[in-house]
Symmetry: C2
Subunit: 586 residues, 2 copies
Amino acid sequence: MNTFPSTDPMATQAWCRALFAQLVECGVAHVAASPGSRSTPMTVAADRTPGLEVSMHLDERAGGFFALGLARATGRPVALLCTSGTAAANYLPAMVEAFHSGVPLVALTADRPPELQGVGAPQAIDQDGIYGSHVRWAITTAVAGTESSGEAASVAHQAVVRATRPSPGPVHLNVPLREPLEPPANDPPPTGLLPLPPDRVPIEAGCLNELVTGPARPERGLIVAGPMDPTSAGITALAELARRTGWPILADPVSGLRRGPHVSHAPVLATGDHLLRSEWADDLRPDVVVQLGAMPTSKGYRLWLDRVGVGRLIAVDHLGRFPDTARLVTDRVAAEPGRVATHLVDRLADLATGDDGTSDWTRTWMTAEVAATSAVADLVAAAPFDEPGVVAALDAALPDTATLVVGNSMPLRDVDAFLPVDHRNWSVLGNRGANGIDGQVSTAIGMAAGSDAPTVLLTGDLTLLHDLGGLTAARRLGVDLTVVVVDNDGGGIFSFLPISEESHIDHQRLFHTPHGLDLSHVAVLADATLYKPTDRPSLEAALGVTVKTSGLHLIHVRTDASTNVRLHREAAQAVDHALCVKEICQ
Amino acid sequence: MNTFPSTDPMATQAWCRALFAQLVECGVAHVAASPGSRSTPMTVAADRTPGLEVSMHLDERAGGFFALGLARATGRPVALLCTSGTAAANYLPAMVEAFHSGVPLVALTADRPPELQGVGAPQAIDQDGIYGSHVRWAITTAVAGTESSGEAASVAHQAVVRATRPSPGPVHLNVPLREPLEPPANDPPPTGLLPLPPDRVPIEAGCLNELVTGPARPERGLIVAGPMDPTSAGITALAELARRTGWPILADPVSGLRRGPHVSHAPVLATGDHLLRSEWADDLRPDVVVQLGAMPTSKGYRLWLDRVGVGRLIAVDHLGRFPDTARLVTDRVAAEPGRVATHLVDRLADLATGDDGTSDWTRTWMTAEVAATSAVADLVAAAPFDEPGVVAALDAALPDTATLVVGNSMPLRDVDAFLPVDHRNWSVLGNRGANGIDGQVSTAIGMAAGSDAPTVLLTGDLTLLHDLGGLTAARRLGVDLTVVVVDNDGGGIFSFLPISEESHIDHQRLFHTPHGLDLSHVAVLADATLYKPTDRPSLEAALGVTVKTSGLHLIHVRTDASTNVRLHREAAQAVDHALCVKEICQ
């Protein structure tokens, strides 16, 4: 019999303790862990680390998205911890979303030590680089405890640095662990921790410096705020930039800019998708568009740019995405939009006053916004209760401070089309990195865990079912969350595609994919209070209760895909009509 | 505005039709698809392909495991089909399991065409090689329709060849698709398909040729059948090999060898884990061990080998796994165990008769097997109703032909310890590639879909909850399945680990992880008939009904982790005692 390497359990534990202590030193306050044996020393070390909260997740995929939501809600990096094998594989979807939406996650995957690789040990798979190109950094560390605790601290420090700067995103530490895995009762407190270096990213606003603050600032400018996570200071600066330049902000639902006190004194458009789909906008060729963050939800925006063109399209993004499917971007500014705005506003402050943004250009857009908002509201008020009415009810019922999490596919488009600008202090969030419907419930649970405000998830039925396991964990995780599920028994968004009109294809089975489940039973299983409103007043009444009541609530609204398709089209027509009637047709 | 490449939808559709027609030509009969837009031409082409069944899965992770189960039950390659983005990422867990358990899957992931990569198009992520080293082959094809249909057939042909020979496993075709995605009403029938080449893997039994069929065959031999998927011909040959050589087969629960008509005329051991943990086995140092397939579940086997050593340890596996954590393997035979056995038995048939295997060595093992089986049965009969009693009830109640799917972690160990050898024609299956608890329900649903026999899944509660979404799809997928869930409100296996006895660790919260859910509600949601037996007769009665009744059935058995720990230990003691009393102590 051969002899194999052995590692002193005290050394293993000291190494793991240093790892977690360093994560805390660098700002990590939470580990979303999943049960396992190989990960024992890390689980115990995490539990023993002061300042670190440990939540347990039966399903690593759900755990991954919980961490993503928590990191986005708190603005802090969050750690993940799982055992070896397919457990690690289940993190991939959340890692992909975190990569594309720039969320700092530190995935810690326990692994077998080298002597147990390739010899048929159970749950031993190739975890080295398992997240491929979807991480900012990945490393397989030394076997825990075979190097000094200082080395553990060093690798944890490096992980947080790479997960947070210059561009936030996920990193992967694959940690081989050797038996014995049971930690000693007392392990030494870690020493020699490293401070996180200051985040001194130089702000370079590039061409925007001259364009915005120079003497020849174009009048016809538009700021297009796509999905992003600005700080509140960034939001204020962006609003101020819009006010000073007179360039309206087309605010994506999850840009952070559609809702908040800043809208009272800045030109912010919520009806952009309707406006830009209208012929009314055909003559409004902009001289400059400043496009922030990820690709906006609005297809109307993309169609309009294709139609009218643009003098200069400046993409600003700190994740390097610079969305540009039509190849219209002329300039790229690699910086966080809120910081760029702060930088520009500071320079604008030095200028003589008089920049109050009340140009004809601005007035044209804002007059149209008022007319369109009114037309859409009138339509929804008169329409049968369906997804637009659900958005209107959320608008009416949610309090001054709230977190609204919006699922991908239809709900996000519903909110884009039907949620007006408002001064209330709402965080409106979604997963717009890779735009998947997976993990949405767990993301919302993480956001609820990281938010002091009442949190409401608006989701479709398929999205809810995709993460059913996540929902059943909400009670155990102790979060307060209201889930509003718009249930058309399938993928309603496919009813918007041309294929829904092709008679030679089994659209219902292959695309709409009805699930046939009674979602009321989901509430019973997940121990959620259940509401089944059938009209807008009863939905508003339900929301009025749930946002003030702790625990998990499921509000189940039956909707109809074809009705929703019709209302979206009618809203666009109503806006079109309103713009002509009011002679904002120019 | 730039102009972009365009592809004629008729060319796209012809390409996709050729792809699927070629898959069918190569033996694929099923596509497990998930809804999406980018994948439209492939979904429609699959639906239009004669000889191809299309099932729809809301969750790609569950779809992946369904395909895995179906491929294992039918022995045929199964295709997967999803849209772009995180949808593809959700296949990773099933791909990892398929890689390690040698299951032929052809994953088809729709992708954006090159001009939409890296420009912020929605659901565009890096799908090229997203399954890393966990595939036999991966390629990003040409944009569908930009090359001839012959090229589509060629790449599909190559995919099935690589997924099936020489070693089966998963492959990945990443298929970029260009708008318009709506297929024409009539597309041309594909031509120019390629036949699958004959599978002419030469059989090389290596050192086994001389050892088994030569004049100096050792008497003290043992065949250790680990997890594998032998054909029925292979099982017959392996049993015959054991009979002729007198080398008993230590049959892992999911080796295919514990149950079937072959056990009537071959020395097969089901109590191996108990026997090898006993001091009784200390003097039974084998001259040769022939270890088949993946690492056996039995830890007793590994401990025994470490304790007594072995003259020669010959690993036989066509997936190249050759499990050998203790570095005892002396020879490796790279071939499918059943084929090796067929080859050897053919050569043994040429020898003079007289090899009936009734040596002292064989009799010692088989006498012990009888004594141990009886001791275990007596213990279970007298014990409180817990997991051992559940296994005994399954043994008593399942019919002559049945498929028993066994979840990882505790249920597999329960079956290993408590399911005796029997002549009934059962398929006992598990996911023993990467040994994960993920996707187990969907795997069982796929196995049920591919099996004519009544199918029963034995699973723990955490495993069930990990794939809750999979369970809710069972009704829609139209399978007949009985799920027996042994529910100890958490991960019972952690109670077997030393850490459960450490008082300074919060074992309950960090390891056992109680979910606190009433699984009865799962039955209501999934539209399953529910049974809650509290003793063995009522469980047997429930099984007697469910295996004869179509649809989905959930049998919920409350168990207790500490009781199960105790019964496993008592079983080992009872066997130890029986071996001494019967003076098989040598």
